[in-house]
């Protein structure tokens, strides 16, 4: 099978519901082969293959015409959205409650235990609702912006089969990973903007009465917001282009590292400070006394390792040649 055909089928598959993907791909493969055989008697040049693929049309549109009805979030994205939401629903409420309780414990807020628990639960509920809203919104935009995005990125000049990305290209953007990090990124950015507004850490999400705020250095908070925004833009650029280039990836990794340092000053150091001020004995516990620094070191190492692994894969990647029949050089 021509390698170009495989690239086309791979791209169509990316936009198909997983339940039907394999069968539609198999059928499409045999249909394209039939057409190639009929027109070029089994010896098509790469240009011939490209011509046939161009007639079939843009892979995303091809996949869409297999999709049937339209939804706010279609069947191809819905499972991914639910996966993101389920993870978020597990992660967001405990974090919200934890930050809230920390603020209560280290602050001088007084009240009955029940009223404290109620406000903590209220904060967790608000955080979860905001997270859910953002995720659904991002997915709805992704679902319906296909063609407009094409125009923005300039791919409305027509579909060029020869420019199809390789199969298993390590630089290819993992849509799930990308959407997941964009959803969490948007949520985190909104939380950071809220922190900036109230001057520190708290998750009560009430501008008039943020409760007890753990103060953080504002310049570092501004830096973190800038880095987060830039990374979202990078992520979106890669998603629209379909692949990470080396330069784009390097910038992203560099921002990961600077971001880890920023997070240390905005989150870990103030939290550790509050903890040790409240319970000084903890400073003498091995490792815990240097907890913030250890988290910083681990996040930097993780960022470098992740960055390097992908770079090595990109550098070592060569696509395999055609397998079942040869495409003459055009």
């Amino acid at each position: 099978m021509s390698e170009l055909v495989e690239r086309y089928i791979h791209q169509v598959g990316r936009y198909l519901p997983s339940k039907e993907r394999a069968e539609i791909q198999a059928e499409l493969r045999s249909q394209i082969q039939d057409q190639l055989d009929d027109r070029y008697e089994g010896a098509p040049t790469e240009a011939n293959v490209a011509e046939v693929l161009k007639e079939l049309g843009d892979p995303r549109r091809m996949a869409a015409s297999y999709g049937g009805e339209q939804y706010l979030v279609g069947p191809d994205l819905y499972p991914v959205m639910m996966m993101v939401l389920r993870r978020g629903w597990v992660i967001v409420p405990p974090i919200a409650i934890l930050v809230h309780l920390l603020a209560v414990v280290f602050g001088d807020e007084s009240g009955t235990l029940i009223s404290l628990l109620l406000t903590a639960a209220g904060g967790a509920f608000q955080a979860t609702a905001i997270f859910t809203g953002i995720v659904v919104l991002i997915f709805a935009i992704l679902q319906h912006s296909g063609e407009d995005l094409d125009e923005i990125t300039g791919s409305d000049k027509g579909f060029d089969p020869l420019a199809l990305p390789e199969v298993d290209d390590p630089a290819e953007v993992d849509r799930f990973e990308s959407i997941l990090s964009m959803a969490f990124g948007t949520f985190a950015l909104l939380v950071m903007l809220y922190f900036l507004r109230v001057g520190g850490l708290t998750l009560r999400f009430n501008l008039n009465d943020p409760g007890d705020v753990i103060p953080v250095p504002i310049p570092w908070l501004v830096a973190l917001i800038a880095i987060g925004t830039t990374q979202m833009v990078l992520q979106l650029t890669a998603l629209l282009r379909g692949r990470w280039g080396v330069a784009l990836w390097l910038v992203n990794v560099a921002l990961d590292i600077v971001g880890a340092v920023t997070l240390y000053y905005v989150l870990w150091l103030p939290l550790a400070g509050q903890l040790f001020a409240a319970v000084p004995a903890l400073l003498n516990v091995p490792f815990l006394g240097r907890g913030a620094q250890i988290i910083l070191a681990i996040s930097i190492i993780a960022a470098v390792l992740e960055g390097a692994t992908k770079l090595v894969k990109m550098a070592g990647y060569r696509h395999s040649g055609p397998s079942s029949y040869n495409v003459k050089a055009s």
Binding site: I24, A26, E27, L28, S30, Q31, Q33, D34, Q35, D38, E55, L56, G57, R61, M62, S65, Y66, G68
Partner: protein, 117 residues
């Protein structure tokens, strides 16, 4: 409206007009089991050009609706999926054909002011 926009609008109208016709044409050819590309050629020979990007998803949709049945044929040069009309498809084809004939009749009267002979 620019010429390009006009072309686009005409294309959309034409596609809309043809959508139902293609379903009728496909169902009418499926007494014999056919694979996708073979059906495209068959329709083209008789003067109806249908794009691959339209026909392949359509076959699958008609199968999901129970109007076509399919089977993978593994014995040939490559595996091919053959489609054939189902008993339900036959009933729908008969009803659609009647509907089509009535429509032609009525449209002829509307467009030319006389009954189609």
């Amino acid at each position: 409206m620019t010429e390009k926009e006009l072309d686009e609008q005409f294309d959309n109208l034409r596609l809309e007009l043809r959508r139902g016709v293609v379903v009728l044409a496909v169902l009418s050819q499926m007494d014999t089991a056919r694979y996708g590309y073979n059906l495209i050629q068959r329709l083209a020979e008789q003067g109806l050009d249908v794009e691959e990007g339209t026909l392949y998803p359509l076959l699958r949709r008609l199968e999901k609706q129970g109007l076509l049945e399919s089977e993978w044929e593994m014995g040939e040069a490559r595996p091919r999926k053959y489609y054939r009309i189902s008993p339900l498809g036959r009933k729908v084809l008969a009803a659609l054909t009647t509907e089509w004939n009535d429509t032609v009749e009525v449209m002829h009267l509307i467009l030319y002011g006389e009954k189609h002979v």
